[in-house]
């Protein structure tokens, strides 16, 4: 009987949402037992995490939980601080990036970054975008023109600035400046885009534009974003990792983290009943 009438496959309860982090095969960033110390103080405690390709992964957690520090491991920005020491493993595309013989310049070309405070160079809009290309040896004017236009279009800024490419970037509004910084980062075609609270200094409309942009960009880039704004994480991310005092507490699909977190600390944090 049951052979003749095989039971209908049960509809997946989470149809439409991405598979669980453990179930996914293609991860682009992998850390294993990653610990980080500022001098003697341990800021990250043995974090193991796999970040999927071409999705948006959000890092959330209270201030000082280590989420930004963790993010900055992926492009070795922590190197700028003298006292930082890192243990454990971090691989991008299967390659170790923490070793002493890693070419940090090459790494940062592959892993772009956008910062909390928009930081355009005091140069023209054009020169801001062209900066990275010039650094890496592009001199041809035609190529520069093309990439500048493509990057500005990619950052949904082209129509707003196309008539004043050679005016100072500092004349742009805060939201435009931040999108310019995103355009500058994507101009050198990184694989991964790290964003450290990119909208925290922006008004709601500028924030919305940046969020829309992030959703567009995930078709081409893997995006890892640190945010204090949980609603922002729910709006733009596919996966969310919750950090607390240097530890990775929970990492799951965003819908699950925000509707049904498994750990009490996560639940307490996302419902605002913290501490």
């Amino acid at each position: 009987m049951s052979d003749v009438f095989p039971p209908r496959p049960r509809p997946a309860t989470e149809s439409g949402s991405p598979p669980s982090p453990e179930a996914v095969q293609r991860s682009i960033i992998e850390t294993e037992g990653l610990s980080l110390f500022y001098g003697k103080a341990q800021a990250l405690k043995s974090i193991s995490l796999k970040i999927q390709e071409k999705v948006v992964t959000a890092f959330i957690g209270p201030s000082g939980c280590g989420k930004s520090t963790f993010l900055r491991c992926f492009n070795r920005m922590n190197d700028l601080i003298d006292t930082v020491r890192v243990q454990g493993q971090c691989r991008i595309g299967g390659e170790d990036i923490l070793g002493p013989d890693v070419d940090v310049i090459e790494l940062r070309k592959r892993v772009g970054m956008v910062f909390q405070k928009s930081n355009p160079f005091p140069k023209s809009i054009f020169e801001n975008i062209a900066y990275g290309l010039r650094l890496h040896g592009t001199r041809d004017r035609k190529t520069l023109d093309e990439v500048v236009e493509r990057s500005l279009r990619g950052a949904a800024l082209w129509d707003e600035v196309k008539d004043r490419l050679h005016e100072s970037a500092l004349g742009l509004s805060g939201g435009q400046q931040q999108r310019l910084c995103i355009a500058r980062a994507i101009a050198i075609r990184p694989e991964i885009l790290l964003m450290d609270e990119p909208a925290s200094a922006l008004d709601p409309i500028a924030t919305m534009k940046v969020e829309e942009l992030i959703l567009d960009l995930k078709k081409e880039f893997t995006i890892v974003i640190v945010t204090h704004n949980m609603q922002q994480a729910t709006r733009i991310s596919d996966y969310t990792a919750f950090f607390y005092i240097g530890e990775l507490i929970e990492y799951d699909r965003t819908t699950r983290i925000f509707t049904n977190p498994q750990r009490k600390q996560t639940e307490d944090y996302v419902t605002g009943r913290f501490g």
Partner: protein, 227 residues
């Protein structure tokens, strides 16, 4: 307690008030039928407005809470609260309908002593109360136990229909009374459905698992017919 938590508590309290009003309404409507008590039937009808008001009230509080963008357990609670309040308001409507039918029945002599209807009423009331107590304790086990009992109520309803159909066939003078009793039976069966819905919402609230429409339906299971 934060203001947010106080409002969440207010939402729960409204739901519990609605639950108690709804089950009282059902109990009294059935009693009005058994005791042939027109006054009680009128009272049930009059008191239904309280449930209507509370349903709107729950939605209003829920919207205010949603404005604060709640997450996780709070989000699930608010989502579930609006659904449960809707189910409870419907239970109140069913009770009113039963009371109305009871009044009509009171105008004719008793067809036969009521056995199955009170039994059915007790079953759905127990389902309703179990579902609500499961909500109060956030006990998904207890809520899950409610769901299969809806089948029993459905069976009882069908059985009653057959019985009453045969009464009609015997004597056309029974028609109006039988139709009224069939309607009451159908109403009670609907209350069972609402109790089941509430139980499913409670499971979602406590486990974040949507179990609606996942029970294998014996009538429709073998969709792809064997060649």
């Amino acid at each position: 307690m934060t203001h947010f938590e106080a409002d969440i508590r207010g939402l729960r309290e409204r739901l519990l008030t609605m639950a108690s009003l709804a089950s009282t309404a059902v109990r009294q409507a059935v009693k009005a039928m058994i005791d042939r008590d027109d006054d009680l039937a009128n009272k049930v009808e009059d008191e239904d407005t309280a449930l209507d008001t509370l349903e709107k009230d729950v939605d209003e509080v829920a919207v205010l809470l949603l404005l604060r963008a709640p997450l996780a357990r709070d989000l699930r609670l608010i989502m579930v609260a609006t659904k449960i309040s809707h189910d409870l308001e419907r239970v109140g409507d069913e009770a009113t309908a039963i009371a109305r039918r009871a009044r009509e029945l009171n105008r004719e002599p008793l067809l036969k002593p009521y056995v199955d209807l009170p039994r059915m009423a007790n079953m759905v009331l127990e389902m309703l109360e179990t579902a609500i107590s499961a909500f109060v304790d956030s006990n998904s086990e207890r809520a899950r136990a409610v769901i299969p009992r809806d089948k029993e109520v459905d069976l009882l309803n069908k059985q009653l229909h057959r019985e009453l159909t045969s009464f009609i066939a015997e004597n056309p003078a029974n028609i109006s009374r039988c139709l009224n009793l069939m309607a009451i039976s159908k109403r009670l069966e609907r209350i069972g459905d609402h109790a089941k819905n509430i139980a499913e919402e409670v499971v979602y609230f406590s486990e974040a698992q949507d179990i609606r429409h996942t029970q294998p339906n014996p009538d429709a299971s073998g969709a792809p017919a064997a060649p």
